[in-house]
């Protein structure tokens, strides 16, 4: 393998990997405050891209993206307020079915609004043929945008959780919901906030990736599966591990392109998901004893 090809694969792997990581973190944020796996997580990413594309007809690109992210955050809040908030200790099965239902509704709504066509945002700089040279590989500058924006998001999130009051409150909910309530933290608002947060990061990822991966009404499910794989791989609930796991999955996928036929590409992440579920359900980096205490 030439150095050029190697760098090409490496950058592709990191690009997709960091997107998977963002989706995985989205799962984790909601899981931590609620104990729910939100099967509609991928739909937030899809909506981000799609709404930004529509907004871009009237607004300049940066404003369109901001508007899309805010709108998707609003949708995330609505989803939580309408479907989750008022349920009294719902069973896991019930939550699985409800979030699946939400994802179907969102997807079908997208289908009726935007149709089946493939769309995309314009490249942030240059166009399809603009390239920059990195480590010998020629890549679109958009790749750098994806990596850059997602990295900033990850850093911002970790600072948010470490240093802001809201972030610490959310961490407290994750550690122990009952105790957090007793300390006067409104867990309900924290849950709404967590939905907004994970909708927002998903939407932003959906915008920056749109020029290179395209947006379509049905990309949510595939992304959700990969994001879930990443979340499990890193150990459910731990966001930094999800970044490592996301990069791992992205790299495995991109380097296997030369070996595994394209038709089976999806099967890689799913096989990885099944393998990890069967062998180490507490994650590659997780601790088994700690995982046993989680609500499953």
């Amino acid at each position: 393998m030439t150095l050029e090809l190697f760098s090409q694969y490496l950058l592709a792997g990191v690009t997709y990997g960091i997107i998977y990581a963002i989706v995985g973190i989205g799962f984790n944020i909601i899981y931590n405050t609620t104990g729910i796996i939100n099967f509609a997580q991928g739909e937030f990413v899809m909506l981000g891209g799609m709404i930004a594309i529509s907004m871009h007809q009237w607004l300049p690109l940066p404003l369109a993206i901001v508007a899309a992210v805010l709108l998707v955050m609003l949708i995330g809040a609505l989803v939580e307020i309408l479907f989750i908030r008022w349920l009294d200790r719902p069973s896991v099965l019930r939550m699985i079915i409800i979030t699946i239902g939400i994802s179907i509704l969102v997807r079908e709504a997208a289908l009726h609004i935007w149709g089946e066509g493939v769309r995309s945002l314009p490249y942030f700089v240059g166009n399809e043929i603009t390239t920059v040279r990195i480590m010998g590989a020629r890549v679109s500058p958009q790749v750098l945008w994806v990596i850059g924006v997602c990295t900033v998001m990850v850093l911002a999130l970790s600072l948010f959780f470490k240093y802001t009051l809201q972030g610490k409150k959310m961490q407290a909910c994750a550690a122990n919901r009952v105790a957090a309530t007793l300390c006067g933290i409104s867990t309900k608002n924290m849950v709404t906030l967590s939905f907004m947060l994970s909708a927002g990061i998903g939407a932003l990822a959906g915008c920056v990736m749109s020029p290179i991966t395209y947006s379509q009404y049905d990309i949510g499910t595939g992304l959700a599966i990969k994001g879930f794989t990443v979340a499990i791989l890193g150990g459910l609930g731990s966001s930094m591990a999800a970044v490592a796991a996301g990069l791992l999955l992205g790299l495995i996928e991109s380097f296997s392109v030369s070996v595994v036929p394209l038709a089976f590409q999806d099967a890689i992440s799913i096989s990885l998901l099944l393998a990890i579920l069967f062998l180490r359900p507490h994650g590659l980096f997780g601790n088994k004893d700690a995982a046993d205490l989680k609500e499953f």
Binding site: R94, L105, R107, I225, I232, F264, F278, P281, F296
Partner: protein, 351 residues
């Protein structure tokens, strides 16, 4: 027997509907009704798994597809080029192959439908055990995701292999001659017999499953659903019971796939899709989870409406919406609320 009363009603309904279509000259309804029957087989099997054993499966369309695709592939693949293969000639000697001619008059050899059906069921059982052993150790979201993953893999395989027709699926699947004069096929002339065959199978499945849930095994399954640890400590081999239930429901799905494929004369990848699996789960949930008759009723109603195209292009959206509304407001299922409400009303009047 009290528990066989609904079964009697089912048989009456089956006969009644057929007579009605004859009287009103609406025999074209028999086709969607027959297809509905096969989907109902999947649904009642899944109901046993979800409602009684308490294990979700988001991959049951996978088992339906395994049955349908294998049986379709075996009965349409021309084996003439392979006739020197020792395995093929052994099959031939055992009488498992059918020789004939295709539309252009050239020699055409394919696997006998009974053999194909047996083979498909066998593969289903093997796959269900192989998947079930690791998967059923999982719970909650993990179980849901793992079964979903299995479903997607089946879907991808169906799409990836030219042998399975890729995006087009397999067509021109021959009829399945069950008995002299009774063949599973979409022939216009055998519409009535196929209707009775399909719903007869549903009635048989219901009889078996209703017996099962009222037996020692059914009680054990409910116990596992309610408190798995305590069930295990009561001497129930919980892992094996869950596994057997998984396999039974997989076989029901597979049989449905086999028969519907022969009835439709083909199968496409959408039958293996996630939306199908989700739809099966939705119907079981709407019927009230641990309610075989509820699942059957809702399954029949919704499938008929869907197959008649009543939801138009909003088909999936309707299922999604129903799913959410039921899970939000009536997690016991539609029939669950009305029945229990009716019961309470009757009881109150009695006082």
């Amino acid at each position: 027997m009290k528990r066989h009363l609904p079964l009697g009603l089912l048989v009456l309904a089956i006969i009644g509907v057929q007579l009605l279509t004859r009287a009103t000259d609406t025999a074209f309804y028999l086709t969607p009704l027959t297809m509905t029957a096969y989907y109902s087989l999947v649904i009642v099997g899944l109901c046993l798994l979800m409602g009684y054993a308490g294990q979700i499966s988001l991959g049951h369309a996978g088992f339906f597809a395994i049955g349908g695709y294998l049986s379709a592939m075996l009965t349409t693949k021309n084996l003439v080029p392979f006739k020197d293969n020792s395995l093929i000639s052994l099959c031939d000697e055992l009488g498992l192959l059918v020789h004939g001619q295709d539309m252009f008059g050239s020699a055409f050899t394919h696997v006998q439908p009974w053999a194909a059906c047996g083979c498909a069921i066998l593969v289903t059982i093997v796959v269900a055990y192989a998947i079930g052993i690791p998967v059923l150790k999982l719970k909650g979201h993990y179980l849901a995701m793992a079964t979903l993953g299995f479903g997607i893999i089946v879907y991808r395989l169906a799409l990836a292999f030219p042998l399975f027709g890729e995006a087009d699926g397999i067509s021109d699947v021959p009829g399945f001659p069950l008995l002299p004069g009774l063949s599973v096929s979409g022939d216009f002339s055998s519409r009535v017999s196929n209707y009775y065959l399909a719903w007869g199978m549903v009635a048989l499945a219901m009889w078996l499953l209703v017996n099962l849930i009222h037996s020692r095994v059914g009680r054990a399954l409910k116990a596992i659903h309610g408190a798995e640890g305590a069930a295990n400590a009561t001497g129930i081999n919980t892992a094996r019971y869950k596994l057997n239930t998984f396999v039974i429901s997989a076989v029901l799905a597979s049989v449905a796939g086999i028969f519907l494929t022969h009835y439709n004369g083909g199968i496409g990848p959408s039958e293996a899709g996630i939306m199908k699996s989700v739809r099966y789960v939705a119907i079981v949930a709407i019927g009230g989870m641990a309610n075989l008759w509820g699942a059957l009723t809702m399954g029949a109603l919704l499938n008929i409406m869907s197959l008649r195209g009543m939801f138009g292009s909003y088909d999936d959206a309707v299922f999604g919406a129903i799913l959410i509304v039921i899970m939000l407001f009536a997690p016991q299922g539609l029939l669950g609320i009305s029945l229990s409400a009716t019961f309470k009303r009757i009881l109150r009047r009695g006082e």
